[in-house]
Symmetry: C2
Subunit: 317 residues, 2 copies
């Protein structure tokens, strides 16, 4: 396909068009992405998550500058999984990032939730896939917050950076809830504020509680940065390079890719199930079944079994 060749050749307009096709869920995107997938696998994919207000966007901007100094081509996918109602919070930060957009070796795209979280996670994976095929050296996935949705999204990364700030208080709780386990690198940003050392110590303490950490063979470094003036950003870039090397040499890159491929295939399979259901069961029939369940004339397990047979899933029991 011509558009595939143009993306592979580094044509930014072709890339932007593919990203738009992905965002719109256009059916023709799939064949393009299948072809692009076969040509990818070279980029270092980095995810950034952490509380809103931790300065992630400024930090990513500075990291992009540092990686440009190291002559890398860099892609940034900024993802806001908040609902459309609360969406837009990320916009102010995005405007600031536009200063990088004049650089032909930097590609930035914001994505917001238009439907399900599953849909957004899938779109993010596909945009990263297109950037990877287009030979960006590092691709940053930046999320707006640090909830379950963000964790879901940064799972597509090879190296996950969790950004905190001094004096987190309750935020430590938020970090505990599932984020600690996925961190490969911790950043204490705004490290000129009081309490930076204490926050670093708290993170070290939390890490010591992680019973699975030893088997991972990697001890996440804790890096202090002041994104506003760039302090600590070269150290962050070094830590990312170290982690990339570790992943390759330990064999964990392959196992991470395997897990990611597995969960992507399962997500696609679930989407196929929903498509099949839409084709096989008329809305009126669906409504009728739901009505029976809420009127307590049948139960949800029996209703699901009926639908399973209708879509061709042969379930016993």
């Amino acid at each position: 396909m011509e558009i595939v060749d143009r993306v592979l050749a580094g044509d930014r307009r072709a890339l932007a068009r593919v990203v738009t096709l992905i965002e719109n869920g256009a059916p023709e995107a799939r064949a393009i992405l299948a072809a692009l997938h076969l040509r990818g696998g070279h980029a270092h994919i980095v995810g950034f998550t952490g509380s809103p207000g931790a300065g992630k966007s400024t930090l990513v901007t500075q990291l992009v500058r540092e990686l440009r100094r190291r002559e890398q081509r860099v892609g940034v996918v900024a993802v806001d999984p908040s609902s459309p109602f609360t969406g837009g919070a990320i916009l102010g930060d995005r405007i600031r990032m536009q200063e990088l957009a004049g650089d032909p070796n930097v590609f930035i795209r914001s994505m917001a939730s238009r439907g399900s979280l599953g849909g957004l996670a899938a779109s993010t994976r596909d945009v990263v896939r297109a950037l990877d095929a287009a030979s960006y050296d590092t691709i940053v996935i930046e999320t707006v917050g640090a909830g379950q949705a963000e964790v879901e999204i940064v799972r597509a990364a090879q190296s996950v950076v969790v950004v905190t700030v001094p004096g987190m208080g309750d935020d430590i709780q938020a970090i505990k809830a599932g984020i600690l386990e996925i961190a490969d690198i911790f950043v204490v940003n705004k490290a000129d504020r009081p309490g930076a050392d204490q926050t670093a110590a708290e993170l070290r303490m939390l890490m010591s509680l992680d019973t699975h950490r030893a088997e991972r063979q990697w001890k996440p470094p804790i890096i202090k940065t002041i994104a506003a003036n760039g302090e600590g950003v070269p150290a962050l870039a070094d830590a990312l390079a170290n982690h990339q090397r570790f992943l390759a040499e330990s064999g964990q890159l392959a196992s991470r890719r395997g897990q990611q491929a597995r969960s992507e295939i399962l997500a696609l399979l679930n989407q196929a199930l929903l498509d099949r259901l839409r084709a096989a069961v008329a809305p009126a029939e669906w409504d009728q079944l739901v009505e029976e369940v809420i009127a307590r004339r049948t139960d949800p397990y029996s209703a699901a079994a009926i639908l399973a047979r209708r879509v061709g899933l042969n379930v016993e029991g």
Copy 2:
């Protein structure tokens, strides 16, 4: 089934056994739950969510006392969707709740994540179903935090209470991320602390931004409580009774139940897909397919299409 009859008759030991079967994912639970479903539909199901440290557990304890004064039978399902690694934070609060456990008209059960979030959400729904059939008047689902996982879990409720505290700062951000839309009642707990009025004002402001609020016809009240001494708890119980009445009279109870039944059926269908996949595709074959994808000899879309055919989903395209 004898155990069904005993649960319906109010036998607590039978109920506890059913809950344990649910937690263990025992196959015999399904037929019991199907029978119990047909006899439920009378309870008011209330969900509590909000930041860790907001005092949810104390507040729920006080609410249970207030509802007991109103001669209701009350069930509490306390859910911690954190990973096993971070689990246990809720335990201290649970111990405090034991003081209620001597009351034969109160049933309390804590549930922690043992596997997937989907699994925990399904188990929570099933425990609520059993309590409903056992004729508890109000069933409280209490979550430990306020992330995406918690939102997923409290979606099973008819009335959702979001608990905040004065001086939330970044917490307002957390509330914005998907929680505001699901709140039927706001509580500003620890209202004797400075800033309670300001927090209430911020919530009112956030609500005014919700463009879908008008069509819901319900304006969430903001209730100030001091859970430690019970202040404001009767007002919270009144607000819950008001919302229950509103749901019934507006027809929104039926539409909420319809949405909940629909999403439960879809979740059960996805589980059936996974069961079928496990039966139809050997682990070695799975591994081979994943290997082909990460070696870039095939793409994830083609791999998913192969599996879809294997499980009997006839997908074209």
